[in-house]
Symmetry: C2
Subunit: 301 residues, 2 copies
């Protein structure tokens, strides 16, 4: 089933204890789309400025990612982000961020994408996320991501969005900010009261928690002894998860969601093994399946 | 198989967001012994001062815990600890700590305990931990815990101890301090180079990591939406783990260790559900087995 993603596309500069990469491709929709494309065809909707080098999108040449929803806007500049990770790569500083084109009007969803059944609204202004939903004809599964900024400044819009989506993905810090609960399980249950059928709380190196009305489960991250660049891990996780779900059809049983979270976990472990998209580019579906099986074995006792 | 534990016995005062308990029974050996006694007979070696109310040990009346190694030392005072947990119960301040009798000579291991095959050296000065080992005739499995203080002030002694034990249990912060590695998997592998055959790194609400030469696996904590008092969680975890291992005999296969870690995880989830020992006192072996099964199911996909 075709999977639609809308989110940011950026030009990133990243510094980690293992080196620096300047002006590399990044953004939530990019990581998500690449990660999901291991499982299902992806339709990417996003906008860049005219400064974005066309060769950036060569990374998708061998992938089943439809770039028909990619807008190159004249007179605008691409979103830029510069981050610096500490020796403890779980901590990062934002050196600079320029929203540029992301602060302008949202890109349009092409007419031939309106039949998309699986939709991921990567992090952006919740009003724009809601706008995207309007033109979808019969979505089967809509999952949204969000961030601190919107929880703090656009809570009303976010609350409206949460009534329109099936799932919400956010990190532990964001879940605390949204619910004022420090316990992550309690926070997850409070999120459910706001509308989504399920919530996934990402805890970085500590894995994730999924809560629905009937189930709560936790999965650890894939044990990685070298994290080169954590950028995009959460978006890749979401991409792996949604990519797998889009292939499953039918209802979302707890077992299906759990397997999907495990695929997300494994795909993210490839992302963090190198800078920018290099970790994902080095992956194959076979390598993902093999690591998934190892992970499954490691979890069972 | 009989399991010997040596460690602290204390009079605790604990404040958490859910209340305060003054002068309640605590200490690493106490939590460990109670937790392990769900699985196997336990021999407790520890020392208190003459101020310790005899009724404190009534908690063990229904348990298979041999208190023959408990010394009540005249003229000495019992170890006291006062801790205060933040709204986020993963963070705590030590309001006061009085080593008292723990700063004196170690208690003796009774002659009839020297045949113990399974031994847990709960956290205390590493020189004392080594002293304990001298009188053991044929230990099959020795596991030690430690803490920041000894890593910082008694590293040489600790390094000597690590060559004499099979397993080391410590928390993530301690593992970073010991190895100067921020990545927990890398830290675990560095610990192995110091001698132990396996190392378990406890990550509190984020579960644990086990590393040996041939295996690495991670387990999440049991999802708990209400943590009343986290005191003793790590010691209960170790108690559940060692208690189970002591019943297994034979070699320690990766599968056996994994099941043991899962029992430790589940037992700790009872501990944190109430103040002091009340959570463990409310548990039964049946309830532990049932929760263990739920946890196992939640992990498999």
């Amino acid at each position: 089933m075709s999977l639609l993603v809308t989110g940011s596309i950026g030009i990133d500069t990243v510094e980690t204890p293992f080196g620096k990469r300047e002006s590399v491709i990044g953004g939530s929709a990019i990581y998500f789309a690449y990660a999901a494309s291991f499982f299902t065809p992806v339709r990417l909707v996003g906008v860049v400025g005219e400064d974005c080098p066309p060769h950036y999108f060569d990374v998708f040449k061998q992938r089943d990612v439809d770039l028909g929803g990619l807008e190159r806007r004249k007179g605008s500049k691409t979103f830029r982000w510069h981050g610096r990770y500490h020796e403890d790569v779980n901590v990062r500083d934002t050196v600079s961020v320029d929203l540029n084109v992301l602060a302008e009007r949202a890109p349009k969803i092409p007419q031939n994408y309106t039949d998309s059944r699986y939709v991921f609204l990567a992090n952006t202004h919740p009003a724009l996320q809601r706008e995207m939903l309007c033109c979808l004809e019969q979505p089967r599964l809509i999952v949204a991501d969000t961030m601190n900024l919107w929880i703090q400044t656009e809570r009303d819009e976010l609350v409206k969005l949460m009534k329109q989506v099936h799932g919400l993905v956010l990190n532990d810090e964001e879940s605390r900010l949204l619910t004022s609960k420090t316990n992550v399980i309690e926070a997850a249950r409070d999120v459910l009261k706001l509308g989504p059928k399920f919530v996934v709380i990402k805890k970085g190196e500590h894995g994730c928690v999924m809560c629905s009305a009937s189930d709560t489960f936790v999965l650890p991250a894939f044990p990685a002894d070298k994290v080169i660049d954590p950028t995009g891990a959460g978006d890749s996780f979401a991409g792996g998860m949604m990519g797998y779900l889009a292939t499953q059809g039918g209802g979302l049983s707890p077992a299906t969601i759990k397997r999907a979270l495990a695929f997300g976990t494994v795909v993210a472990s490839f992302t963090i093994s190198d800078f920018s998209l290099a970790g994902l580019q080095a992956a194959t579906r076979d390598a993902i399946d093999q690591r998934w099986f190892e992970y499954k074995q490691a979890m069972s006792f």
